[in-house]
Amino acid sequence: MAVALDANATTDVTGGGVSTLDLTTLTVGSGSNRALVAQVTFNVKTVSAITVKWDPASTNQTVALIKTANGTGSDGRADLYGLVAPTSGNKTLRVSWTTASDIVMNAVAWTGVDQTGGVTSFPNSTSATGTSVTPSVTITSAVGNATMDCSANPLNTYSAPSKTQTFADFNGNVVSAGSRAAGAASNVHSWTITSAAWVSVGTDILAAGAGDTLFGQACL
């Protein structure tokens, strides 16, 4: 079973000077082998005690950190969080942390994802930093999987994504963007900005049954 897009949030959301942020514009469908990936960026690199919850008013599912990295400039942190078997429906995605920060958040729902969770469902996470006009992260993946990235910098708007854009925002003191793609052996998620210190994180999203196939081949 290949990973397939279920839904992207209708809009991303930006908060300034806050310590929790809610996004209620994602509707998770009822398809099989569901997963949710949140793309989150902060301007303050030292935010701590971050928790991300899906449907906090009811099923209160924890969305676990897949990958985080800080940029080399004054500001800019990019995170990806993942959850398998998210509760279906139009629910709230809530991120909470200590101390104030600006934040941007988007979320994408998928079907056809391995339901093990953790690094099994979201393998090959990676990060990259630089000071240039081309933020980029290369994600190891496979046909049938999917990949996502999230990038942040303190200054400059993102454009020209190499993959399908899921969000791009410049309303706070952190400028960020994210994208998604069908899996391939090596997926390059790149953007264009005016030169700045950027940080990008990426993850593979494993297809349901893909691990079984690999195991079967190994046994043979």
Partner: protein, 120 residues
């Protein structure tokens, strides 16, 4: 790009849950920003909290649905950068010509107002 401010809740000492009047987004809206207007002294206090949630409605009178929201905790005596009024933005183009309103939750007495800034 022109902007227009709608002071939907005038600054006043408030406590509890307050629902603002609604604002209809113009058809050519490009951006929207919800700002919690606070006193500097309160922003530099310790332990004050407030939250703001945004709802949208097709007709402005029924079936209000949540869009997004934030929680704010006072920055403390050391402050937070330029001690901004906390704010929230999203892409209103996803809700063309719809109505928006803000729901404030203020658990303790606090001087607070709310402004919706529309960019067209």
């Amino acid at each position: 790009m022109p902007t227009q401010d709608f002071v939907v809740l005038s600054p006043a000492v408030r406590q509890g849950q307050i629902t603002s009047p609604s604002v209809q987004s113009p058809a050519n809206i490009l951006g929207i920003r919800f700002t919690l207007n606070l006193l500097l002294a309160d922003k530099l206090a310790t332990g004050l909290t407030a939250s703001l949630h945004v709802e949208h409605s097709v007709d402005g009178s029924t079936n209000w649905l949540p869009v997004c929201g934030f929680g704010w905790t006072s920055y403390g005596p050391a402050g937070f950068r330029t001690n901004p009024d906390p704010f929230l933005t999203f892409k209103p183009t996803a809700f063309p010509s719809e109505f928006f309103r803000a729901i404030l939750d203020v658990p303790q007495s606090l001087s607070v107002g709310a402004t919706i800034t529309v960019t067209t």
